[in-house]
Subunit: 304 residues, 2 copies
Amino acid sequence: MSLLIVGSIGIDDVKTPLESHKDLLGGSASYAAVAASFFTPVRLVGVVGEDFPQAYHQLFARCGIDVKGLQIEKGKTFRWSGEYLWDLNQRKTLLTALGVFEHFKPSLPAPYPDTPFALLGNIAPALQAHVLSQMEKPRFVMADTMDLWIQIAKPELLDLLRKVDAICMNDSEARELTGKTSLIKAGHALLSYGPKYVIIKKGEHGCLLFGEGRFFTAPAYPLEDIHDPTGAGDTFAGSLMGYLAKANDVNFDILRKAVVYGSVMASYNVEAFSLGRLQTLKPSEIEDRYNAFKIISHFDDIDF
Amino acid sequence: MSLLIVGSIGIDDVKTPLESHKDLLGGSASYAAVAASFFTPVRLVGVVGEDFPQAYHQLFARCGIDVKGLQIEKGKTFRWSGEYLWDLNQRKTLLTALGVFEHFKPSLPAPYPDTPFALLGNIAPALQAHVLSQMEKPRFVMADTMDLWIQIAKPELLDLLRKVDAICMNDSEARELTGKTSLIKAGHALLSYGPKYVIIKKGEHGCLLFGEGRFFTAPAYPLEDIHDPTGAGDTFAGSLMGYLAKANDVNFDILRKAVVYGSVMASYNVEAFSLGRLQTLKPSEIEDRYNAFKIISHFDDIDF
């Protein structure tokens, strides 16, 4: 089934202690859409300026992404520039220039309102709600978010949580929003805010899934070297939703596998800058690493 | 098969934000021995003073622990007092009084040198090596350690690592000893120091197992409330080694299960102060939680 993805689309400059790259494709919707396209047809909702490189338009086309919902406006594409500190666990934002993103208020073109699955990627909660309000009884909607919205738009975020089926956020964000130090308590608190499922991303420690009175934990893939952590969370969310849309069903057991596929795709994504690794990724590699996740986390009734 | 356990045996005063208890049974060998006794016969090597409460001698007896290696010396038993901060992730030591532990230099009584499995619990590396030197070709030896020894006895610790089959330490200790931020790199570095297997404990994030060119990750049990984290690592190590001694064989697949049993026992141990929970624990509860670990971490070919 189709998956609608809304979020930011931008051009990034990214610096790590070892490398520095300019004019990269970035933004939450770019990562999520390209990752999800490995699993299911994607309908993209976003905005870029006239300066958006043709090569990036072509990348979306090669992935078979439906871009009827991608507005091209006069002006500059959203730009972000960031630098990672030596252990790649912390980053500082050097520049944010909204450009055409400043006045982004998408209207869903036909047949987008009918899309059964939707990922409200990381943008302002009011904008996520605006997109959701145009949808006609979607089957399953997940929202992603970030610390900025907890700090400057908490009421809108809490309002959104009452309307979505699932929420996905980082461990530090879950602690900040709920005021709970224990991630187990934070997960349960987030469920009490409305969504049926909660996913807490823990970076190198994997992720936690709560819902239906059940619990699941997925590890992170044991990578020795990470080249660029940018977009890992968006890749995770896009792949997770792509898998659900492909399965065309949602329950806890399907969600377990979806979060593992999300983890698989995120682990590939950080192996190169921007979307470089996803562009060379083969479906067989996805299955190989999915099986590797089984090998590193199953411990009983196994036959390796 | 029998398991030899050496380590500290003490009397603890423990304070958490909610509770405070005095004169508790403590020490790395106490936790490890009682936990291991659920799996296999245990031979305890340690020292206490004449003030060591009769109730704690009886506790060891009830667990069927062989105490021929437990010296009772004139003087005071080792005492430790600590306070946990509000989130229980950090603690400060308020008092350490070595007492009879200061001149502890154990001689293994017959038939201890023949014991096939040994856990060198957290004490000074030189003391661990002293015990190991008295053993006759043990089949499998694991050492535990702590940050203090990395700081004040690093050469002795590195020397010990060349002589043991496995090492077990916390994530922060693994980073400190190896100088690697990535726990994956730290695990591989520790393997290069000598042991065939490395286990890195990550508290609320579970643990990692390295060896035989393979990797395994176990989650932590999703507890909402932890009453007393004291001894969780010792309980983990004791149970892990107890399971191996019971299996009477060691390979990567057996070790996966051993670290899960270690995690099961540690998760129970933190539910009450000191060894309170282990004293009421039933074998069926161990199996119940082992199955719960399967349910929270397996994701494929499952039938729940």
